[in-house]
């Protein structure tokens, strides 16, 4: 009951004309930030920070939260239309979203992403209001051994992502793992494989690699095709601009699972929206009856990760608001901002500033509604980008990627890194090495190695720590279970392949 009256109070705060306006400004800026590659939500929040001095902290925070989840919607657009992930957490969307766009179904992909994000956003806000405390306590049980077990589970799921040649998928995965260890080793302070580059001491940035492997590589391979080849055999009539009933039926469980995965992974301070969307994609492919459709335009492959990253954005606010701990770069900037206003996030915030907390929660209902409206209304406008002549679009994608990647850290090194991975991505594509395992391993590899070593430090070298802790033991058991069908299929596939190899292929 307390929660309901809190919510009611919150709605009274959030629905004042001024706060509606701030929510609108926040989500609009967030949407734009999401579209611009490179510039992410932390930079967006930092950008608006000076404007908010002297403002009511609740209004400011409503705006900041709007930027955060607005960016999750916005990142989808470039991923689907031009294969350039606008946000790190939208990388998985490019895999099937762009394929759908090539089939002329960009509208369906954008539509289902908007609907999925909306459902995920709203359900996460509801979970937030009712179970925040309970959930955060559960999240605290996640120590290094649990993170390790979770990563093992994620990697066993990834094995299903390897595409046509498992061997090449495996190589791609290992290359990603290699990239994840570049930089100063946090546990010892020793630099590893930095090739004498200062910038690499802090590791290989994810966004330039992702934009190279997808955006730039795609431009190269599209230039290779015949000059006058039609870009998209698209039927851009209005009827085709929105998802069909069938799309919805295929996506609904993906949206639900994506929401739950995203929300919980978002709460964990060591993970984040990118990890959440990757796990969600892997889960959807694993559970699908027709996994071969993934990577060729499966609508669930868009719905799951997109719902997941939105839920994660809401989940990430929970440790900030309840414990006063920033779990991600964005929440760290928000925390700095709150301190500047004289509000101290932490366990006392709920008691001392209920109208702030509940106002923020209520505003997220409004913000998600605004974003759903914006994103469905403007689908025709977004997709009209695809009508641009191919030459102009390609030039634009390169310009956009270069300037965007430069703006991450104001560094040309990242631009060179992106161009390098553009070339790598082009050859990987030609030789049928899948790019997704590399990116997954780059993100998850760091947590995998680190949590393994942290756990063993905690247990002074005994691997039993993974089995004596209930959560980590059950996650490891679950990974073993998910491996079984694969092993079975592997054995079966091997005998089939042996038979097949006797018949010469043409």
């Amino acid at each position: 009951m307390e929660i309901l009256s809190g919510l009611a109070q919150g709605f009274a705060v959030a629905f004042t004309p001024a706060n509606i306006l701030f929510a609108l400004v926040g989500v609009t800026v967030g949407q734009l930030i999401g579209v611009l590659p490179g510039i992410g939500p932390p930079a967006g929040v930092a950008l608006l920070l000076p404007l908010t001095f002297g403002m009511d902290p609740t209004s400011a925070m409503i705006m900041f939260a709007g930027i955060y989840y607005g960016a999750m919607y916005g990142g989808t657009i470039t991923s689907v239309l031009i294969n350039v992930p606008g946000e790190a957490s939208s990388v998985m969307t490019t895999l099937d979203g762009y394929q759908l766009a090539l089939q002329g179904r960009a509208g369906a992909a954008l539509g289902i992403a908007a609907i999925g994000s909306f459902i995920a956003g709203i359900s996460s806000v509801i979970l937030f209001s009712f179970f925040a405390w309970w959930l955060v306590r559960a999240a605290l049980h996640f120590g290094p051994p649990e993170y390790f077990a979770l990563m093992v589970l994620a990697f066993t799921l990834v094995i299903g992502l390897t595409g046509r040649s498992p061997l090449k998928g495996f190589i791609s995965l290992l290359l990603g793992l290699f990239l994840s260890i570049v930089g100063v080793d946090i546990l010892t302070g020793l630099p590893r494989f930095t090739f004498g580059q200062l910038k690499l001491l802090s590791g290989v940035e994810f966004v330039p690699v992702a934009m190279g492997l997808f955006g730039i590589a795609e431009v190269l391979s599209s230039v290779e095709e015949k000059e006058e080849a039609e870009f998209v055999k698209a039927d851009l009539r209005l009827r085709n601009l929105f998802p069909t009933i069938q799309d919805w039926v295929m996506s609904r469980w993906a949206i639900l699972r994506g929401t739950l995965i995203g929300f919980f992974v978002g709460i964990l301070p060591g993970a984040g929206a990118t990890t959440a969307s990757m796990i969600s994609y892997a889960v959807e492919k694993r559970l699908s009856q027709t996994p071969e459709r993934f990577g060729r335009g499966a609508i669930e492959g868009v719905a799951g990760p997109e719902s997941s990253n939105n839920a994660a954005a809401v989940g990430a606010l929970i440790p900030l608001i309840t414990l006063g701990i920033p779990g991600s770069a964005t929440t760290a900037v928000m925390m700095g901002a709150l301190l500047m206003y004289g509000l101290r996030p932490g366990p006392l915030l709920f008691q001392q500033n209920p109208q702030f907390v509940w106002g923020l929660i209520a505003s997220m209902f409004l913000g998600n509604l605004l974003l759903l409206a914006m994103n469905t209304m403007f689908i025709p406008a977004f997709t009209s980008v695809l009508r641009l002549p191919r030459a102009i679009l390609n030039a634009f994608v390169i310009a956009f990627s270069v300037v965007g990647v430069y703006s991450i850290d104001n560094s040309l090194f990242d631009v060179w890194l992106m161009l390098f991975f553009g070339l790598v991505g082009f050859f990987m594509k030609k030789l049928e090495y899948p790019a997704a395992p590399l990116l997954l391993a780059l993100v998850l590899g760091e947590i995998l190695e680190m949590s393994l070593r942290q756990s063993l430090l905690m247990s002074q070298g005994s691997p039993l720590i993974f089995l004596t802790r209930p959560i980590s033991a059950s996650l490891l058991a679950l990974s073993l279970v998910t491996l079984f069908p694969l092993l079975y299929r592997g054995v079966k596939g091997l005998s089939l392949a042996r038979k097949a190899s006797m018949i010469p292929r043409t």
């Binding site: 061997l167 495996f170 010892t188 030789l431 292929r505």
Partner: protein, 148 residues
């Protein structure tokens, strides 16, 4: 296709040796706990085995005889790559905005769009748009080059 696959596998094999050697310079275990060299060693070994297996596979299985890159497209591809690299190389010299204007016009012309009014518009509007969004609105200090 097969030759390219084999060359890449060889390159990967060489790279895996580099990783293994690098890993051996870092300690494998430290006080009974995996050290900084633990993960790289296994990654290097895995990469070596996988690329060796792939190399063998390229010789034992038949694959369609198509060339890796469509021969007629090579000039366009190389042109695009060279222009992009040139652009990024001159950014510190000319500044982001002016060099972007040149790049836009050059690349669109090369990719087959030869209508001058459109090229001219692109040269003006795109850099202006990028300048307004990134430099003015987002406050990104774009490289100025010698004209500052």
């Amino acid at each position: 296709m097969r030759t390219a696959d084999a060359i890449i596998s060889l390159l990967l094999l060489g790279f895996s040796i580099y990783v293994i050697v690098g890993a051996l310079h870092l300690s494998y275990m430290r006080g009974g706990v995996p050290g900084p060299g633990f993960a790289p060693l296994w990654i290097g070994l895995g990469l070596g085995i996988a690329s060796a297996a792939n190399l063998i596979r390229t010789w034992t299985t038949l694959s369609p005889k198509v060339s890796l890159v469509e021969p007629s497209a090579i000039p366009r591809l190389v042109g695009l790559a060279v222009m992009t690299v040139l652009w990024v190389a001159v950014i510190p010299l000319l500044g982001m905005v002016p060099s972007l204007a040149l790049f836009m016009a050059g690349i669109v012309w090369m990719l087959g769009m030869r209508r001058w009014p459109i090229l001219f518009l692109l040269m003006i509007l795109v850099p202006l748009g990028f300048y307004l969004v990134f430099e003015r609105w987002l406050g990104v200090p774009l490289p100025r080059g010698v004209f500052r």
